[in-house]
């Protein structure tokens, strides 16, 4: 600061004290951030970085790692199971949309129309979400059994026995049905909250203007939950593209690799074949493909916006 007056300011709180004061001002902010930065670095960024490095190495816990160049990538590209797993994953994602995605929307609209016992229906739908997954694996193995209750009902109506788990055509469908049953309640709560927050007089006004019930749903209810629909659609696609636990727990990728998803193949490479390098390479490929899709999606939505 330029001082024009003759009287200099007394150095009471000037130079010597200033730097520590400024430093002190920020130290707590950084101290608060420090643990998180350390943890995020050690347990997220470091594995991610290491994954890229591992994909060029042969990992051996006993003899030590050795550099192999593009070997892992070449092996992965030659492996026919990779193509199978990609197809299965896309099939799984598609089935999730076809069988599962519309269920919570439909029930949310239906439940919102209930005049009584709405809370009961809502809790019942959410209940399976509270049950531990491992219990559901045990339960659904029994439900899907050739002599289990579902087949009992089917044979009662006059259908043939369906081998839900061991029939190649059915195994993935069975998994999607089970997962839909288990998790649609959580999506239902989100949709229901959005539907119930629509002002009632909008419907009143539409009705006076002569809109039918279907017209009211199409022009009021569905547009009102559009954001939730888009968001949950994307979240479901992301989640199913990474899915492998149910496939692993119920069928271990069988029968005859019919439920072998990409993520399950990655896990199999690592823990069955002990080939951590190739597993990392598969992981990196997944990241590249998803990153590319994200960029394309961003470009398209930007163009639409402009």
């Amino acid at each position: 600061m330029n001082q024009t007056t003759a009287v200099p300011r007394l150095p009471l709180d000037s130079l010597p004290k200033r730097p520590p004061a400024k430093w002190k001002k920020y130290i707590w902010g950084y101290l608060f951030l420090l643990p998180a930065v350390a943890i995020f670095f050690t347990f997220l960024w470091m594995p991610i970085g290491k994954g890229i490095i591992f994909s060029f190495y042969h990992i051996d816990f006993v003899k030590g790692d050795s550099f192999v160049g593009w070997e892992n990538y070449k092996r992965v590209f030659k492996d026919p199971e990779v193509m199978v797993s990609v197809k299965n994953t896309l099939y799984y994602m598609g089935l999730g949309i076809v069988i599962g995605f519309w269920v919570p929307i439909l029930f949310a609209i239906a439940i919102s129309e209930m005049r009584r016992l709405q809370g009961f229906a809502r809790i019942a739908a959410y209940l399976p979400y509270v049950v531990p997954l491992v219990v559901l694996y045990g339960l659904w193995r029994w439900l899907y059994d050739p002599v289990g209750p579902i087949n009992a009902v089917l044979s009662h109506i006059g259908f043939d026995t369906i081998l839900f788990m061991t029939d190649k055509a059915w195994s993935m469908i069975s998994i999607v049905i089970m997962e839909t049953w288990q998790s649609f309640g959580s999506a239902l709560l989100i949709y229901l909250a959005a539907i119930l927050s629509i002002p009632r007089d909008w419907y009143e006004a539409a009705e006076i203007d002569g809109a039918g019930i279907w017209g009211r749903i199409r022009h009021i209810t569905l547009p009102a939950i559009k954001t939730q629909v888009v968001l949950l659609f994307l979240l479901q696609l992301i989640a199913t593209s990474q899915g492998f636990q149910t496939q692993y727990a119920l069928l271990d990728g069988g029968p005859n690799n019919a439920t072998l998803t990409y993520a399950l193949l990655v896990v199999r490479y690592a823990f069955t074949r002990q080939d951590y390098g190739s597993a990392s390479a598969l992981g990196v490929l997944m990241f590249l493909v998803l990153g590319l899709l994200a960029v394309i999606q961003y470009r398209i939505s930007n163009k639409e916006g402009a």
């Binding site: 129309e113 531990p132 209750p149 990241f287």
Partner: protein, 290 residues
């Protein structure tokens, strides 16, 4: 005059026969849905009371013809349930502690403290949301091995602090707290940790409760990752133990299997039913999960 609650369908519509039938059909569909939700859960419990022959009979029965409570006694002694339940609670407590201290501190700092380069630090955290789990599951495993954390609870506790989704939730909640409260606290000479524990934390109990639900359900549910990390059976959480010793075992009688499964099912279900009002509200506070 009584205000009549209406939805998409008005009372006037409901007087029309076509709408009446469709409405009745809709209620029937909901009823069927409720039954398909409740039947499997009740059948877990009832199967645990049957004789093994009855569980495996075709067509399966719903209610047990004779009640055998001794199945539950056998189930209780089959594996060390209290030990595994204790491990699960232990993991939950550690994960929750990490969430409060690591994620809570960091989001408080980003939201309500004066830090240069805030944007860059925020990106450092949030970019991790874009990495697919498939990409880092294997390197993460190898990394934990390299760090020597295998077969310790630390391998579950420490990474629990690296959750960008929770960070985002907490930060947006802190953003909603009036900044003047902290300013006046600072003027009155409160230290920053004190601001966190005495102002921010008490005001954020609802969001921490929501996080507690998320953390609890993940530690109660997660079976795969712990089974990779923990090789010592005495460290298994409940879910992993159930998967390895109950679900995946063929020679165990099915009725005993179901008795064990119902013992792990009902505690969370009962807790949910008692607190469902608060839990559902809490889930809404968390916005869209995922």
């Amino acid at each position: 005059m009584k205000i009549i609650e209406r939805g998409i369908i008005s009372d006037y519509d409901l007087k029309r026969p076509g709408v009446k039938i469709a409405y009745g059909f809709m209620l029937l569909v909901i009823l069927v849905m409720v039954c398909t939700m409740l039947y499997p859960l009740l059948v877990i419990f009832f199967n645990g009371l049957k004789l093994n022959a009855e569980v495996n009979s075709f067509p399966p029965t719903f209610l047990p013809s004779e009640i055998h409570f001794e199945n539950y006694h056998k189930a209780w002694t089959y594996i060390k349930l209290p030990l595994f339940a204790r491990n699960t609670l232990f993991i939950f407590a550690g994960n929750m502690f990490m969430t409060i201290v690591v994620v809570g501190f960091a989001s408080f700092s980003l939201s309500r403290m004066n830090v240069p380069y805030k944007k860059a630090i925020q990106y450092f955290f949030l970019m991790t949301l874009f990495i697919p789990p498939t990409t880092y599951i294997i390197p993460n495993f190898v990394n934990l091995r390299d760090l020597g954390l295998m077969n310790t609870f630390w391998a579950l506790w420490l990474p629990a602090g690296a959750n960008a989704f929770f960070l985002l939730l907490l930060k947006s909640f802190f953003d909603g707290i009036n900044i003047e409260m902290f300013e006046s606290g600072r003027i009155d000479g409160a230290s920053e940790p004190r601001l966190f524990f005495q102002i921010a934390f008490p005001l954020s109990v609802p969001i921490f409760a929501t996080l507690a639900i998320f953390v609890f359900s993940s530690s109660w549910n997660d079976w795969y990752w712990p089974s990779l990390i923990l090789s010592d059976n005495n460290h298994y959480p409940l879910a992993t133990a159930i998967y390895k010793y109950v679900v995946n075992v063929r020679r165990l009688d099915t009725n005993i299997k179901f008795a064990i499964l119902s013992m792990v099912t009902f505690p969370p279900v009962i807790v949910f039913l008692i607190f469902q009002k608060y839990i559902v509200r809490g889930l809404h506070l968390g916005g869209v999960k995922g």
